[in-house]
Symmetry: C2
Subunit: 182 residues, 2 copies
């Protein structure tokens, strides 16, 4: 696992979820834990409650998932581009679909995982989980949209992830290629 | 339009999105603007930025939509129950699906609208928009799940909204009844 967080390789990021430059934000830190998977540990604060003070708010969960997943998409594209960061590997959220499975305790860390499951010309799709002490409390699907100004760095068409990172995996499920326009 | 916000009819709500009892929260206020539709106006703060400082963060948008929609579901069930608030009309978010259409300016108010489009035994489905100066920046679907402790107040099976509020509308689209278990 790289010791530098994905967010700490980005500059000029004022995002309330993931921006190191936002002193009032959540300032999440995401790390690669596999070829296609990232992890983020976050300690909720007491004011991030749902109605009951013991439960983590669903909007905070959505924010954690959204930022962690989009940072993963940016970092993945940067890796494919050979490490050159900047506008050409910038992504935004096209859609965010969170399924809340059970209440998430607020008084202990949560772990967000994001896994790249498909890449199209201008879309990266990620499946995510948010867990508390190993129990999945929410699942999510994030579609990140590439908004790079040019095509110099990010390839016009990216092959499915496993093809770009040393061949297909021995075990299914393989990443699902997407239609050209998602 | 009632002059009392939906949230101000609830007690003991510490939610970071909609709780009047959370001094560090967004403290949104939602109002009925039609038989099946509610509205919420919210002025973003500068620290609620996406990466660029001029754009509202997607997680904040998700939080606004989520809280506004679930409060709408709670208020609707309370109306059906004859105005008796409390645990028996409590809902939580089962799923939240946000589609981001365009960047949302952070320097002016946003309006969130939620419309009840279907009701099943323990689910209320709402279609939502978030607009800036009349332009829709995000659309969302929220499924709210009833978690009332008993069935004394909330009916075991709620008819489609239009049937409960004076008959079917003259114009389509009519609310879509849902399968018994969503």
């Amino acid at each position: 696992m790289p010791m530098t967080a994905i967010q700490d390789r980005m500059s000029d990021n004022h995002c309330v979820g993931c921006g190191p430059d936002n002193p009032l934000g959540l300032r999440i830190k995401s790390y690669w834990v596999g070829d296609l998977e990232t992890s983020c540990s976050f300690q909720p604060q007491p004011h991030m409650a749902a109605g009951p003070e013991s439960i983590l708010n669903g909007g905070i969960i959505a924010t954690l998932v959204d930022c962690h997943a989009v940072c993963t998409a940016i970092s993945y594209a940067t890796r494919l581009a050979g490490g050159a960061a900047g506008q050409d590997t910038m992504f935004v959220t096209a859609s965010l679909n969170v399924r809340y499975k059970r209440p998430t305790p607020i008084d202990r860390p949560v772990e967000v995982r994001a896994r790249i499951v498909g890449v199209a010309e201008r879309r990266t799709v990620l499946e995510c989980t948010l867990s508390s002490e190993g129990t999945i409390c929410a699942e999510a699907t994030v579609v990140a949209a590439w908004v790079g100004a040019g095509s110099a760095v990010y390839p016009q068409r990216v092959p499915p992830p496993a093809q770009t990172l040393g061949g297909w995996k021995a075990d299914p499920p393989a990443p699902r290629p997407l239609a050209k326009t998602a």
